[in-house]
């Protein structure tokens, strides 16, 4: 297998959790709500998947539980930010802190226990002998295929449907959208809940596909990287795919350099994704200094009908 194929495979396998989380974040932020609870949501998703899978042995139940738990957590964020107009940044931070602590609490008994199975792979036998495409697409698990589907679906939804147009209107100017008869609060709730479910699924994907045992704090900042990826991707699902895979490569880069037998201590190699995140953000900030960042214009501004702030 040549280097290119290996890189793409690494990008897909470690980029998929990032991609799903980023897509969930994009959906939420497109509606104008900042979502910083991704780290906590991913951890809760991972621990829920692990516990349910270990106790019931059913993958479907595990995913169902993940959706249930993250929808509830999303609902809390929704009540805080949409109905109560609380500070969206602090509500997200609270979600991250609570999720980190609660997942550690729940996961203590199963810490280090391997999960009994993994996500089924889609065996495309007709593809497997094709040189480049075969190794990459021949044996992908269902969640990865779901993430491809999600990119296309979200792109079409946001840019090609009238509901997506309404969503963008809400994110840019909720007051105008409201006057047009779009249900602002309702849409925001829906986006937060569905987006949170996706972020929870990203955590579950991390556990079920990428590293199949629960370890306290196993996301190691991936939730935050997903938050950064939303900005790299300029709130665009297709760009999110490219950005997530770029970080997927970075994620495995340190490990690969070690395999080659480099003298650089592994601690420094592990810093790569974090440092590159900041550098890329700086580069984007410098390149786009004279143009808008692509963020929804009312991102982070709470909205309540007939009130001006």
């Amino acid at each position: 297998m040549d280097l290119f194929t290996q890189l793409v495979m690494a990008a897909v396998s470690s980029g998929t959790p990032l991609l799903i989380a980023t897509l969930g974040g994009i959906l939420i932020e497109r509606s104008g709500i900042i979502q910083l609870g991704a780290e906590g949501l991913m951890l809760m998703g991972a621990v829920t998947a692990c516990l349910t899978y270990l106790h019931t042995g059913s993958l479907a139940l595990a995913l169902l539980a993940v959706f249930g738990v993250s929808a509830l957590l999303g609902l809390i964020h929704g009540v805080m930010t949409v109905s109560l107009r609380a500070n969206q940044i602090v509500s997200g931070l609270a979600m991250t802190l609570f999720g980190t602590g609660f997942s550690a609490y729940l996961g203590k008994p199963v810490s280090g226990m391997p999960i009994p199975g993994s996500v089924p792979k889609l065996e495309l036998t007709f593809l497997q002998d094709v040189p480049v495409l075969g190794p990459i697409f021949g044996r992908l698990d269902l969640l990865t295929w779901f993430s491809f589907f999600l990119v296309i679906a979200m792109h079409l939804f946001i840019h090609r449907t009238s509901a997506g147009l309404h969503l963008r209107a809400i994110g840019d100017n909720p007051a105008t959208a409201d006057v047009m008869g779009i249900r602002v609060q309702w849409t925001r709730y829906a986006c937060i809940v569905i987006g949170s479910m996706l972020i929870g699924l990203a955590g579950a994907d991390l556990l079920l596909v990428f590293s199949p045992t629960w370890i306290e704090g196993m996301t190691a900042g991936r939730g935050w990287i997903a938050v950064a990826l939303i900005i790299f991707a300029r709130w665009n699902p297709v760009r999110a795919l490219l950005c997530a895979y770029f970080f997927g490569v970075l994620d495995t880069l340190g490990f690969r350099i070690q395999l080659v037998g480099s003298e650089v201590p592994s601690y420094f190699l592990k810093m790569i994704p974090y440092v590159v995140t900041i550098l890329v953000l700086m580069f984007l900030g410098w390149r786009n200094r004279n143009q808008p960042s692509g963020a929804p214009e009312s991102l982070g501004v709470p909205y309540l009908r007939e009130q001006r702030f």
Partner: protein, 383 residues
């Protein structure tokens, strides 16, 4: 099994806000919630109610895992405040929380979301330890001030690494400060597992023990060290600076309305740089006081998440410097209490869970109080 406790979380959370959540969507009841323009800020008892409600929610989780929550809380309380050892230990944990909490509060005051206190703490701890490694024989009057200076500089520099991208490259400081936490903690791991590891330490990931001259003086036979004075002095100094200097006035202006402040000619970028330098420096000082006053060495896992707890410490105190003294004491007790429940088989992450829950109730309570419920055409009623 696992989604049950989360279910009760939402139940308890929305229970705090039923009036606000329901009529927001549909106007059949002819009720409207709106912000009461007359209410500025929220009353002093909101933080207390938040803590109580958070304790109640977490009690449900604890009960769900088959423990008696009252017994657990009793154990936590007695562990933190009930004995003389526990009490001084709580004070010992108060010190880093006080310094870090004050640091992040300064930044939050002008809406700079520094969540990098954990990394700035680590940078300060590393820098202070560097003094003991590279200038081993210094007497106390030279070693301690040098360690303080190094830790302030390192923490401040780490803060600037967040502030410079924010001011000149429009990088969201939440992300950069958090990413730098991971970088600083990895650097700390590198030093304690690598070049600075104690050769006589039987593979313990830590530096050699500090000498007497490199350690902060302690009170009598307790573990309570001089860092508490640093913390209290910093609070006082900050309160005075905010109240009596032009700098403090400008910070208040920026906090109230950044656009207006900018139009009034206040150099926003310069203030952000200074504030992050201070914010990071205080967290760095906390790192120094922790290695020099408590652990007497740099070691793996030196901070049990002080930098993150500091965020809640600052919010619980509503960014008021004197309030931070109280809230950091409370959270110091929470950390010590968290340790003491480990003996009855509960993970110490119980305290982290509590912290997150407290923060939720706090911000919910803060905004809930500013809302009022209004019947269309009728008289306004409190929500």
């Amino acid at each position: 099994m696992s989604d049950k406790p989360a279910g009760s979380a939402i139940a308890a959370n929305t229970a705090a806000a039923p009036a606000a959540a329901e009529p927001a969507n549909e106007g059949r009841l002819r009720l409207r919630i709106e912000f009461d323009p007359q209410r500025q800020g929220s009353p002093w008892w909101i933080p207390i109610v938040s803590v109580v409600l958070a304790l109640a929610v977490c009690a449900v989780f604890i009960a769900a895992s088959g423990m008696n929550p009252l017994a657990v809380y009793r154990k936590m309380f007695m562990g933190a405040f009930g004995t003389e050892f526990g009490f001084t230990e709580t004070l010992v944990k108060t010190i880093p929380l006080l310094l870090c909490g004050l640091g992040v509060a300064i930044a939050y005051r002008i809406s700079v979301w520094n969540i990098g206190a954990e990394g700035q703490f680590a940078a300060g701890a590393i820098a202070a330890t560097a003094v003991t490694i590279y200038f081993p024989g210094l007497p106390a009057y030279a070693a301690i001030p040098l360690m303080i200076a190094f830790s302030l500089a390192a923490g401040g520099l780490w803060g600037l690494l967040t502030a410079i991208p924010r001011t000149y490259f429009r990088v969201n400081e939440l992300i950069s400060s958090l990413m730098l936490n991971y970088v600083a903690l990895l650097a700390l791991d590198y030093f304690v597992f690598g070049p600075w590891k104690d050769p006589k330490g039987m593979n313990f990931p830590g530096t050699p023990m500090f000498t007497e001259a490199q350690s902060l003086p302690v009170l009598g036979a307790t573990r309570l060290h001089l860092g508490l004075v640093f913390g209290l002095a910093a609070v006082l100094l900050y309160a005075l600076l905010i109240r009596y200097t032009r700098w403090g006035y400008e910070l208040k202006l920026i906090g109230a309305n950044p656009d207006a402040a900018k139009n009034a000619g206040i150099p926003l970028n310069r203030h952000i740089l200074i504030v992050m330098l201070l914010s990071g420096g205080l967290a760095g000082l906390a790192g120094m006081s922790e290695v020099s006053g408590v652990a007497h060495r740099l070691m793996y896992g030196i901070s049990p998440g002080y930098g993150y707890t500091a965020i809640i410490v600052a919010w619980l105190a509503k960014l008021n410097p004197f309030g931070i003294i109280l809230s950091s004491f409370l959270f110091g007790g929470l950390i010590v209490g968290g340790y003491s429940v480990q003996t009855i088989g509960l993970p110490s992450s119980v305290s982290l869970m509590l912290q997150g829950a407290i923060l939720f109730f706090l911000i919910a309570g803060d905004t809930l109080f500013k809302l009022r419920l209004r019947r269309s055409g009728g008289k306004g009623r409190e929500a």
